[in-house]
Structures are given as structure tokens and as C-alpha cells.
Symmetry: C2
Subunit: 338 residues, 2 copies
Amino acid sequence: MIKIGVDANGGDLGVEATVPGAMRAVQMFPDIEIVLYGDENKIKPLLTNPERISIVHTAVTMDMGEHNPAWAVKKQKDSSLCMAMYAAKNKEVDAVVTSGPTQCVIMAAHLIVRRLPMMERVALCPIIPNMDGKPRLILDCGANVELKPNHYGEFATFASVAAKEVLGIENPTVGLINIGSEPGKGRQIDQEAYEYLSNMKNINFKGNVEPDQLIDCPTDIVVGDGWSCNIAIKTLEGTAKGMGKMLKQEIKASTGGKIGYLFMKKNLKRFSMRMNSKEVGGAMIFGIGAPVVKAHGNSDAYAYSSAIRQLYNMVKSDLINKVVASLPKNDEEVKSGE
Amino acid sequence: MIKIGVDANGGDLGVEATVPGAMRAVQMFPDIEIVLYGDENKIKPLLTNPERISIVHTAVTMDMGEHNPAWAVKKQKDSSLCMAMYAAKNKEVDAVVTSGPTQCVIMAAHLIVRRLPMMERVALCPIIPNMDGKPRLILDCGANVELKPNHYGEFATFASVAAKEVLGIENPTVGLINIGSEPGKGRQIDQEAYEYLSNMKNINFKGNVEPDQLIDCPTDIVVGDGWSCNIAIKTLEGTAKGMGKMLKQEIKASTGGKIGYLFMKKNLKRFSMRMNSKEVGGAMIFGIGAPVVKAHGNSDAYAYSSAIRQLYNMVKSDLINKVVASLPKNDEEVKSGE
């Protein structure tokens, strides 16, 4: 049995999304068990099928407007977010999904679940939908605003193992986010990271990836610091959403548009699905002792079931242990590829 | 008469776009004169109406694949790009438009036209189309990968004057690109820049702007370093282009889509025009002694005429002198707002 902990109070929809999401996931996998950390009184009426789903009660929810994540995590040990994380730490569950505030999730992962000894940093790694329908991994998307070259190496290694084990990509390719394709581009750190990644033998590094390529990305994985990747992914999300909104406005603006819509309804549905992040699951937190997924704040039941499927695959493939085996122990090992 | 110099050999289409673009611009403004720097033998057959358009011959074109911009600018003084810049320096023309390689354009602006004494840095400032149809300025988009807080102040001042004089925006608002809305977000430099901009009395600073807001931007101007803004704008452009391509693919994928297209052809045309950068002109180079616009490499005649209109407005409004008058002479003046 694979046991997944769910922060049931978290997210914009709370139990309205987490409970049906859990029930859906249980139907998908016969060898899954779910523990809902959340408000029993709210969960019970929604839990129409409690098969392989248990509840650990807490009415406390981490505040989305929390400005001091470290303080919040230490202070609110009885929040649904922290309780799920403690369960992962104590091996009561194998993995955790939460839609809590991003910085609190990262902090709780760090302080409660704990960093792997060979990882100096923790990274947030969302899966971005791409034009060809294949997912891409981009990290770090927000856990560290500044990095050293070896951190890029850690992240590239972690993501390469995850891409293979979770997404089934053989020999996944790695790119470095940069404002130009040539090696000498970008800031000092980007040039150093390029050099470092080029010398690594345990990853398949393909050079720089420019931000305008992200939606049609030449590599399976893109690494960068939390500042740069965060700017890129937020711009991508905002632009995609804005474009969809503009398209709707223009279609509704005339009778011709409305009639045309009736003919191409399915086409437009497929169009909007191609960039739908609910399909691909949430952002993974890499570098800690258990698989943790941060789902979008606006996740619905479907998005939660996708995130649980993602965690199921991470646990089933024994991702963390495989990463530990792959992580180089020192710089020399990186270069020799042993 | 306002004299505009055009790097006629530059860009993907070269004289095929610059010559008809110049002829179109001359028809738009009775008080404009254009000098085409380029290959006379190629220009003459296309110049069907030479009214107020003269040619300064050079067959040399700056190579788009140039890896060492400083060297290229010094070595290729007889290129159409450099000749137009020298003409601006020597006041033979009032302003210059070019589609040459971005880093060479910035370098030529720097080395030939020269930086204004009170500007420590030069910035590349494209105009980005927005959902509400109103243009926004974003800078620096590539001239400097790292900046000090006072450089953000220079850029905000320059762009504020330009937004007022060229785009007609009264009391334009300024935002700082950041990964969160609160003042304490981002790297050390972003926090310092926030503080610096907050203390400036000659600009209308509104705080942080998140990258997902860029397409529907709450401020008229967004400032940031060349690394961050470049990532944002490239992601925005790539995503918008990719989304357009996906929409086309989905529409073409079925008969229903094709029929629907016939009904909403105009709607889709308006949709694609809303994010069309050809409409809004090119990227302005701020901080040098003359207005220079870097047009997109793929600019057509229409895009050139837009860029020339933009330069016309910059010269007509006496932008450079107004900026010089607005730029604070020292830090104290910034804070007192004198």
C-alpha cells in the first residue's frame, strides 16, 4: 500500500476539492491509501465513499497571506499543512500533497520533512505544459533567489532522475535558462553554471535555453535560479491566461464570432486543454526526504487526483532513493561521472 | 524638418522593408525627411517616390551573428548601422531606426552616439502591447545584466518622461518587476531598488509588478535589470506566439474548425492584432544623445513606418532635452524632488 497524506483544508476550495479528489484517486489505484489532514466536521459529509480514506482531524488552516513562513511553520504545528508534513517525517505517510501558501510549503518541507544530507538546497519544480503535449520540468521556481553552480548540478541531477522515473523519459535532456544561446551569455553565475553543467557526466546537458522557447522547449528539463525561473513561469502563465481571456472577448464581440464558436467549440476546448496545468499535476519539491507536491491554490478535485497520481508514481518508482544513489558525493565524482 | 536616419540594409528583409517603410512614413508627415543608409543599387529600383528621401550609399551590412559587438562596431564603421549612428552623432540626422543585431545596436549607440553625461547606464526599452490596448514600457530589456539602485532611478525617470511625451500618458505610473507584491520580495538588489524608487519624488512609483501581470499591467512603466526584463519579455513573446500557433493548429484540425473560422475570421484577426508589436513600434534606446529605435529583425514596411512615427514623436517632443532637464543631478535632489 502507498500512503498519501493530503492537506485537506488547504487551497482556495479546501475540502470541496480535496475530498472528491482523494475519492477519485482511490478509484484510480487499488494499492493506494489516503489520509486526509483536515476538519472532520467538514470532510465527513463530503466523504461519500470512505474506502481506503482516513481522517486525522484538525480545524487549523495555514493562512494564505502569511508573511513569515518560518514563524508560521513553527507556530502552527497543528495546521493541516504541518500535520501532513510531520506524518511524512514520521513515515506515517509516504508522500504529501498540499495547496498551502508556496513559501510555507517549502519552509515546512525544509523544517519538518528535512533536507537530504547531500542536497545543499531545496527546489520547487513545476511541470509546465508544452505545445507538443509533452510535459517539461523547470526548477528552481522559487525556493532560492540566488544559487551557486553546484546547486544547479544538484537540481539537474534530481530532475533527471525524476523525469525518467516519474515521466518515463529515457536519458532526459537538461537546459540552462539564459537570455542567449551561446555559452558566454548572461550574468557571471549563469556562465559559471553553464561551465559546471557542461562538465557533469551524469546528466545530458544541452546548453542554454532561451525563455521564448519555454512553451516549445528543446529540452525535457530547464534549470535556473529561483528568481529567473519564477519570472519565466509567471510570465508564461500570465500570458497564456491573458491570451485565453482576449480570445474569449473577441469571440463574444460579434454574432459571427458566436456562430463560429458553435462550429469550433471542440477545437477551442482542445486548445485550452493544451495549456492546462491541472492535467499535469503540481509542483514537486526536490531535495527533501519524501515526495511532496505543491498543487495550485485554485486546484479542483481533478487537479488533486492528478497530483496524487504524480505522488503515487514518485513513491512507486522509489524516486528519493534513486536520487540519493545518483547524487554525486563530491565535485570529483561529478566530473568523472562515477 | 525632422530628419530620420534609416539603417536600410539591416533586418531580415533589408531594403525590401526599409524603402517602402520610409516612403510610407514620408506620406504620413509633411515635415519629415529620411536618409537611407544602404546599398544604392538595391534601394534605387524600390524607391518609386524619392520625395524627401535621400540615399547615402554603403553596401556593408552588420552581420546578425556577430559575437563581439564592441569589435564589430569599431571594425565596421562603413556598415549601414554605424553610418546612420555617426550621422546622428554629427547631427546630420535627428534620430535613427535600425533592425541590426541588438547588442551591436546598443554598442553602437554607446560608442558612437554616446551616453548622456548624467546617465550612468544605457537601457533598451521596448513597448509591449497589453490586453487593454494601451502600450506599456519595460526597461532595461538587455543592455545591462546587473544594475545598482540609482540605475533603476535613471531608467524610471527617462521612461516617465518618454511615456508622457511620446505616448501622451500624464503622470505615468512606474512598477518594479518582482516575484512577489510585497516590498521585501526578491533578491537583495530588488529590495534596494524598491527602497530607492520609493524615495524618488519625480516619479510615480507604485511598487512591485509580478511577471504574470505584464500582459495586463497595472503600471505604465516596468523597470528591472536587463536579465530579469529580458527573461520576462522573451517568455511573453514566445508564449504569445506559441499560443497563436496552437490555436491555428486546433482550428485546422477539423472541418468544424475550418467552418467556424469563416464566421469568426474578423474576430481572430482582431485577436492577433491585439498582441501585434508591429503596431506599437520598436524598442527605444534610452540614455544616449539622440533618439534611436531598434526595430524587430523581422520588421516589414508597416513596422518601419511605425518605428519612424515613434522617432518623429520623440524628436518633435524634444524628448532628450526634456529628460536631461528631469534627470536628478545627485541623490539629494532625488529625495527632495527638486
